[in-house]
Symmetry: C2
């Protein structure tokens, strides 16, 4: 099957899956447009393509991209229809950025850290180890200067980025070795991409870059000792509990990963202003929607993992987390040294993070502690 | 001035302010519509009114309502324009529900707990003491059954509710008496509405119902010992630090208050389907936007309160919070006894809450602890 091999092309991606779980989902591009007869705007119909880094209909990530397309199609009464392509259907996952940059597709859905080979700084716009939670990230994006910096970062690629989804705090990953101390990280072969991988390396581990489809085999043959993925809802569907003994938390490396929609700048500028507004607000609405879906569904899946599959949930020891935090701060600070723009992004991020942590300490964190008493 | 006396009509509201801070804001209803010439849809123009429980242009709450109106106007290329009215401009804050129910206005912006005189159960759709944070609340709303229950709750009033904003975790309030033990709650006169007030009463306190405009005077004369409000950004603007010694946290009574837009059902059903979709998704986008604004701005204000105004930030003692939680659980459970529907809402809320707390414990809560080490 065409969709079965999507994973091979996705070397840098941390969020992929097999096609087996996708069969029951409908397609946004065909589901939309059923009740559009009432308004007949006088403009010609515009057809856009959205390429994605996910297999079509992948839970939340793929279905969220579908929802985004559906919102745009419905709100525009079919004047702008967006057809969603899963990874490998038009381009492989790693080709999404270029495809939209060149205008072969008008939109793309993925995450900024997939494009770190163009600039390490892009990673600030998706996930930073020990960085920001989803809610904090959205504060930075919309009201803390993050979106402006992101737009400038993508400008020379002819792209407009918008936040369009968030996984929430991820899990630490699936392990076949217990992590009782820092010594257990030495030589640990773990599939963990991006900045998290760099941090693991400095802790003595061996970050491995594997596509999602190779993970189950790599775990079963011992080629890797561990892998991170997303969270219970996606991980259960993927079957990782079948080949790993321990499910560790917290996901220090991805505390609230922002997903993106990228839009070809010229295509966007050609749109009538009302359709531009529809695209922008649909992204914001789907940013809310996907996070909400993860919030509601992760625990159902967690219950099943623990209750039915007897998964062993473990917390990373405090001293391990402390060391990983120290190393993360180093790795992230070094990004700022690359060039003036990187420094500007780092400075904005760090300033906002310091502030939002102070607020979080006396608001949500304090509340959650009180609730747990 | 007409707007200056809005506060008098808002007995049940916890979020009001004087007009003094509002002068510099622009009006959404006049700001929209400047670049709508590109698309000329063939439908006639529809004009809606949005009445609100806030003074026009009140920071975040009022400006968020403006933004919602602006999104709708812009996305519809002016086919549906929404004119925003502050509290008392058309109806007082407490009249918003009836006004939209009867169709005098087509939309209203406020919060469900303002209408608890119609049904105590409505409070589940805004804030529950020791209930859900903003992110958790949105999970319940969109993917945990909350929205469906809310729609049923408002159906007989000819209203469609949509989540349209969130304050995030609020502060515990401003106090002129230190709270060192449960004994300090006895006889404490505190302005705290809704379920939080009922909880305080059971702890021996005296909940007082005062409109926002009366708070500064009531604090200075000693008529009240304490008042809750929202959080640093709104509270600073309101000047509460001028009449209170201590600023307590956490806001156990409002951990993530959902704001609502209510829509007259007949008016909504008359809209073309594309405009219906625009209204629904604009609410979802503004739900994201307002929370993000609070996240980004609360700490700036907190810094100013602490640094410039030397505000004394204090945490409620653990045993006080423990007792308040126990009493909250009682008060909330009793809501379920009112009727079959209340029981259904309580059961859904409780089931979701138990689950999401379990997920939060190993995801965001665990991450935030590790980050603070």
């Amino acid at each position: 099957m065409k969709r079965r091999d999507f994973v091979k092309g996705l070397g840098a991606g941390s969020l992929v899956a097999t096609s087996t779980m996708l069969a029951s989902c409908s397609n946004a591009d065909t589901a939309a447009g059923d009740k559009q007869a009432v308004t007949k705007p006088a403009t010609k119909k515009i057809k856009w393509k959205m390429v994605t880094t996910w297999p079509r209909n992948f839970p939340v990530l793929g279905t969220g991209a579908n929802l985004l397309a559906e919102m745009i199609t419905k709100m525009s009464a079919g004047r702008l229809t967006v057809k969603v392509y899963g990874s490998k259907e038009l381009v492989p996952a790693k080709g999404v950025f270029d495809s939209v940059s060149k205008g072969a597709a008008q939109m793309g859905h993925g995450a900024a850290y997939y494009w770190k080979s163009r600039s390490e700084t892009f990673q600030f716009f998706s996930a930073v180890p020990f960085g920001l939670t989803a809610q904090e990230m959205n504060g930075w994006m919309y009201y803390g200067g993050g979106m402006d910096l992101w737009r400038r970062a993508y400008e020379k690629y002819n792209l407009i980025p918008l936040a369009a989804g968030n996984t929430g705090t991820q899990m630490g990953g699936w392990f076949n070795k217990e992590i009782n101390s820092l010594a257990d990280l030495k030589g640990l072969k773990m599939r963990i991409p991006g900045l998290g991988g760099e941090v693991l390396k400095r802790a003595g581990g061996i970050p491995v870059n594997l596509a999602g489809g190779e993970l189950l085999t790599a775990l079963s043959t011992g080629n890797i000792d561990a892998t991170e993925w997303v969270g219970p809802y996606n991980d259960l569907a993927f079957g990782l509990h079948k080949q790993a003994k321990y499910y560790y938390y917290p996901g220090w490396h991805e505390p609230g990963t922002t997903l993106e929609v990228i839009i070809n700048k010229k295509a966007f500028e050609k749109l009538p202003v009302d359709l531009q507004e529809i695209v922008k607000n649909a992204a914001k609405a789907v940013n809310m929607d996907m996070l909400s879906e993860y919030m509601a569904k992760n625990n159902q899946a967690l219950q099943e993992l623990v209750g039915k599959h007897k998964v062993n949930i473990k917390k990373f020891p405090d001293d391990v987390l402390k060391k990983l935090k120290l190393l993360s701060d180093q790795v992230v600070s070094e990004l700022a040294e690359k060039d003036a723009f990187s420094k500007e992004v780092f400075t904005s991020f760090k300033h906002y993070r310091d502030n939002v942590i102070a607020w979080n300490d006396i608001s949500e964190k304090a509340f959650i502690s009180a609730r747990s008493q």
